[in-house]
Symmetry: C2
Subunit: 232 residues, 2 copies
């Protein structure tokens, strides 16, 4: 593992303040691998042998059932994924594939569980991270059940605008096909939802988004911290 990778991993909140020898235990057994785009890293239903950390690139978490497939989340550096499965020693609930060329760190699950049992600081960090993940999924679920697809898109755009610095102008970072799946709709439906937002001050051409009237958009989107604020 390169020193830069090492340092970046150590800077993750999950590993803050933990005992050095325990961190070394984790790192000693760690792999780092480079994957091309569109490689399936893990498959839903399999045993969780590794805790994954996206060091560079981008990974999509998705789920399948009965020939259908849906995007559950996009993981960008530096973040872990499938922490819950690792800790519980339970099968993966989601599959993961690279969306671009990616560098992924693999920490053997049994090492993670061993350190988790020994290192209280680490155990607390795991709780914080898990609680965060839990609340994120609950918010997503609320969005799915309480909002129409246009409302979900509107709120997504508002959120992306905030990430991009609230300039009212930014580029979509994911393919529309994937965005549609993430938002729980078909690509065709997304395409029409985008059109339906034009009267609310939204212009989208290609991946470029311009929000000309945020008030108008918010009157439709009605964003609320308890669904839309990631830190809430």
């Amino acid at each position: 593992m390169k020193d830069t990778d090492f340092q970046e991993i150590k800077d993750l909140p999950l590993f803050h303040n933990m005992d050095n020898s325990n961190f070394d235990t984790l790192i000693r057994g760690a792999y780092i691998q480079n994957f091309p785009t569109q490689v399936e890293l893990i498959t839903e239903g399999e045993a969780s042998n590794f805790l994954h950390i996206v060091a560079s690139g981008c990974v999509e978490l998705f789920a399948s059932w009965n020939e259908r497939e849906t995007s559950m989340a996009t993981v960008r550096p530096m973040s872990t994924f499938i922490l819950a499965a690792t800790i519980k020693d339970a099968p993966y609930l989601m599959s993961a594939r690279t969306m671009e060329k990616s560098r992924v760190v693999l920490l053997p699950s049994q090492d993670v569980r061993k350190v988790f049992d020994k290192d209280n600081i680490f155990a607390r960090s795991v709780v914080t991270e898990l609680a965060q993940c839990y609340r994120t999924v609950v918010k997503n679920s609320k969005g799915l059940k309480l909002r129409t697809s246009i409302e979900r898109l509107a709120n997504y755009l508002i959120k992306q605008n905030i990430y991009a610095g609230e300039t009212g102008e930014f580029d979509l970072k994911t393919e529309k096909r994937l965005l549609a799946s993430y938002l729980g709709m078909t690509p065709e439906n997304l395409s029409r939802a985008i059109k339906a937002l034009q009267p609310y001050g939204v212009k989208i051409s290609g991946a470029h988004v311009i929000i000309t009237d945020m008030n108008d958009l918010e009157s439709l989107a009605k964003p609320t911290p308890s669904i839309d604020d990631p830190d809430h």
Copy 2:
């Protein structure tokens, strides 16, 4: 607090093996309250002052947005709820109301966090419980995104049949209105979904369910551990 309540709480997995003095700290500050039916115990967006434990009765977790409301979960004895908010010291993401006359134990959140920081056994139990909650919500999300309402109902019935002892005959434990909301549909839609399941060997009259042909039902429901098995 009554001795029986005390003992029942101590038997919860969340409090297993923890230091007695720490458990006492939790109990010392605890309230126990009796609520009539239809009382709102907590409200989405408020600060999380207490970890709640349902000792008897039944509590519904629900969420609201823009005049709409949806049922998120039903909590039965002996279970805690809003653990994530308590640990993170974050606002509630869901509201809670009693569905019947209920006895609820309230543990002050700051005590829970204090003990969580001191007692490693307890901290680990919290992780296990949180991971469980997380995976449950992910499964629900998958069901919402990958299945139609009829498929969700079919799988719900299969699951309830398992809980009831796989006799092929049981009673619904919740109002249909609530069940519909939990499954992400309207009461009218549930009523029609029930009819649509008749050709698949399901008879429902009032709250009584008879599954006459499980193979037929499963051919529609296509249950899978990674959505439908709570322990998976």
